[in-house]
């Protein structure tokens, strides 16, 4: 029987399967961060268990770390305890950790690929829903809860039931100024935030194949915003080339063996998908979110919806609630939405290509005087690379703040947050109520669109600023 890529990775990791379909799945790679792991390590200690494979586990503090001067450490008491707890746990259980002052430190989903820890055909988990990012390498990667983190630490396996296969085809060429962020926002708008529930999504089509490795990560990253725990893309030469020579990539004879295995990782012709949708790349435009769910998308040329046009009562109430929270009027043009802040960063759009894309728009321009804008690179290595290319100077000259790496204002666990009613154009992944700070209002956009918004002082069309 022909199999999908997901079927193949699943079958290849089955340690055990009960009659009812409940499976025990082997986990090849486990990423750990400070927020969702302390209770898991505590659980191990309480039951006198060890970490089964410390060398299949990699830890990095990202959610709580300050993005300003780090020489004085972390000033917030609770954040400090959490980061120190991670350090102590990693030491006790023998897990490799990139500390806050290590230049390899960064957001787990940026660090994993960068180090070559992320590899095709593997099962990768992390106590973080954006683990889906790693699916860009053709791995089965998904977020888990803290109890499951403990389970993986103790057994290197996970109890799972097989999900359905969902295929998203994107064919054609993207118009100028349109990026993979716009593609995934469009997909989420189309399927809704629960559209992928119970599924693993495979992204396919010639547009997907034409994307760079980092652009693919942006797409897989936001799969969870469409309800699917994992999204993946068949690995190809671009992936192999990206991984070759990375610190944790296979070496020598192992590299050749791995490569041979990786080259066969693809969905068979005629494999069956439970669900399938098609998108034409030509029809995708620069997108923004107007509401408080990632499915609330419109193009930059459109208007905010009017709840009065909705027949479904639930939908109408939900639109009204969102508009009210966001402080927007029905039928308002997207370009009339004035912003206060701009955030460029996160595991969705905090990699070098994202920074290049924003810097290209900002070169020789100034941001609007009422806007406060910041760039938070996804890792110390991304920061270093950007500085070598002079991108930091472009950002700073235009009026942006150039920060240290971390999750930062994507979820506002550190000091970077919105004040009530402040409005932000953000390259992150969630526009939930209060996500970037209590009462804060988030509009999700691509890095280029974030740069355009910073210059104009309102949400604006990146195509206006294409050099």
């Amino acid at each position: 029987m022909p199999n999908t890529l997901y079927d193949k990775i699943w079958n290849d990791h089955l340690v055990d399967q009960q009659e009812d379909g409940t499976a025990l799945l082997f986990v090849d790679r486990h990423l750990v961060h400070e927020v969702t792991s302390p209770q898991a390590f505590e659980g191990l200690r309480n039951s006198n268990r060890k970490v089964r494979h410390p060398n299949l586990t990699l830890a990095v503090a990202d959610h709580n770390v300050p993005t300003t001067d780090r020489s004085k450490g972390i000033s917030d008491k609770d954040s400090k305890i959490q980061v120190e707890t991670l350090e102590a746990n990693c030491k006790e259980f023998g897990i490799k950790l990139f500390g806050m002052n290590d230049k390899r430190q960064g957001i787990v989903h940026v660090t994993g690929p960068e180090q070559g820890f992320t590899q095709p055909g593997t099962v990768i988990v992390c106590g973080d829903s954006h683990t889906a990012t790693h699916g860009a390498f053709g791995s089965l990667a998904f977020g888990i809860g803290t109890s499951e983190v403990e389970h993986v630490l103790a057994t290197q396996t996970l109890v799972q039931k097989k999900a359905k296969n969902f295929k998203v085809n994107v064919n054609g060429k993207l118009p100028l100024g349109v990026t993979s962020k716009d593609v995934i926002l469009q997909i989420i708008g189309k399927i809704g935030t629960a559209g992928g529930t119970g599924c693993v999504i495979e992204y396919a089509g010639d547009l997907i194949r034409s994307l760079s490795v980092e652009q693919r990560m942006t797409i897989c990253n936001m799969t969870i915003e469409g309800g699917a725990r994992a999204g993946l893309i068949a690995p190809d030469e671009k992936i192999f080339k990206y991984l070759e020579g990375r610190p944790m990539s296979p070496k020598g004879e192992d590299w050749n063996k791995a490569l041979e295995y990786w080259k066969n990782l693809k969905t068979d012709d005629n494999a069956k998908f439970d669900k399938e949708i098609d998108l034409k790349a030509e029809e995708i435009l620069p997108m923004i979110t107007w509401g408080t769910s990632p499915q609330d998308v419109i193009t930059i040329d459109q208007k905010v919806p009017n709840p009065q046009n909705e027949k479904d009562e639930d939908r109408k109430n939900s639109l009204e609630r969102s508009l009210n929270y966001m402080g927007l009027k029905p039928n308002m043009a997207a370009k009339d939405i004035k912003i206060d802040k701009v955030f460029i960063g996160s595991c969705t759009n905090g990699r070098i290509e994202d920074l290049r894309e924003a810097a290209k728009i900002l070169k020789d321009k100034k941001i609007a005087s009422h806007v406060q804008a910041m760039v938070v690179p996804g890792s110390g290595l991304v920061k270093e690379q950007a500085e070598q290319e002079g991108l930091d100077k472009i950002f700073v000259n235009s009026g942006f703040e150039w920060r240290e790496p971390g999750c930062s204002m994507c979820l506002a666990m550190n000091a970077d947050k919105l004040k009530p009613q402040e409005r932000c154009a953000s390259t992150s992944n969630r526009n939930f109520e209060g996500r970037q700070g209590r009462g804060g209002r988030t509009h999700l956009v691509s890095p280029g669109m974030a740069a355009a918004a910073a210059i104009s002082g309102n949400l604006d069309d990146v195509r206006k600023y294409q050099n």
Binding site: V15, D16, Q18, D20, L24, F26, D28, V35, T36, Q39, E42, H53, L56, N64, D78, I81, Q82, T85, G127, D128, S129, G143, I144, G145, T146, S147, E148, E150, H151, A154, T155, Q156, T157, V159, K161, T193, A194, T197, I224, G227, A228, R229, M248, P250, W255, K257, Y261, S293, D314, S318, L411, A412, M413, P420, R430, F432, E433, G434, R435, R438
Partner: protein
């Protein structure tokens, strides 16, 4: 883990769709290194005003719903972040059963690790049950029978048999999996031969 068997309570009804885990427990409370004590911060932003005072018309601040053990909510409950702090906060508040027409995958699976029963029902049944919340009448849940009893009516709900067993017996997942140690070891041995690069050593 606490066993789940039967439960009787006046349900609280929160008619909002796509309730995300940021709403259930906002990030400032994720800095804890414990599982307990999160109940007072459950639905923090809807429950307290800017001065930290309880908002009196929020459902869980009202009597008798401040003692509800059952929460009925709109579709796609628990979407967003994987934080297990969401079920921990519900549990600490006293809610051990959530009823919705759909749940996000990670939240759904996190519930079972904490003795919380998530029940999926059709929208029309949700509406029917919500009337009991509005009238402040008790409903009861019997996991053994996969049934909800309300007034003179009952509804059957579906639940994966293994998940049900784990809840009923309060089983520890890790202990169960460790019983399969031999299979894990065999798998690892094969893996070392087949994909030597996986082990990094």
């Amino acid at each position: 883990m606490q066993k789940f068997n039967t439960l009787k309570s006046i349900p609280a009804y929160l008619p909002i769709v796509n309730i995300d885990t940021d709403m259930i427990i906002p990030k400032q409370f994720l800095k804890t290194i414990k599982r307990t004590g999160l109940g007072k911060n459950l639905f923090f932003e809807m429950r307290y005003d800017d001065q930290g005072k309880k908002i009196s018309d929020f459902i869980l601040n009202k009597n008798p719903f401040n003692n509800s053990k059952i929460l009925i909510a709109g579709k796609n409950f628990g979407c967003g972040s994987s934080r297990e702090h969401a079920p921990w906060a519900l549990l600490d508040f006293g809610i051990t059963c959530v009823i919705s027409s759909s749940f996000a995958d990670i939240f759904y699976s996190n519930c079972f690790k904490n003795g919380i029963l998530p029940i999926i029902l059709e929208e029309d049944k949700i509406k029917e049950l919500s009337e009991y919340a509005n009238r402040k009448e008790e409903i009861s849940v019997d996991l053994n029978e996969n049934k909800i009893f309300y007034g003179n009516n009952e509804i059957k709900f579906d639940l994966d048999a293994f998940k049900k067993k784990c809840l009923l017996e309060g089983l520890d997942d890790i202990a169960l999996s460790l019983k399969k140690s031999e299979k894990i070891e065999n798998f690892e041995k094969n893996l070392k031969d087949k994909k030597p690069w996986i082990f990094n050593d």
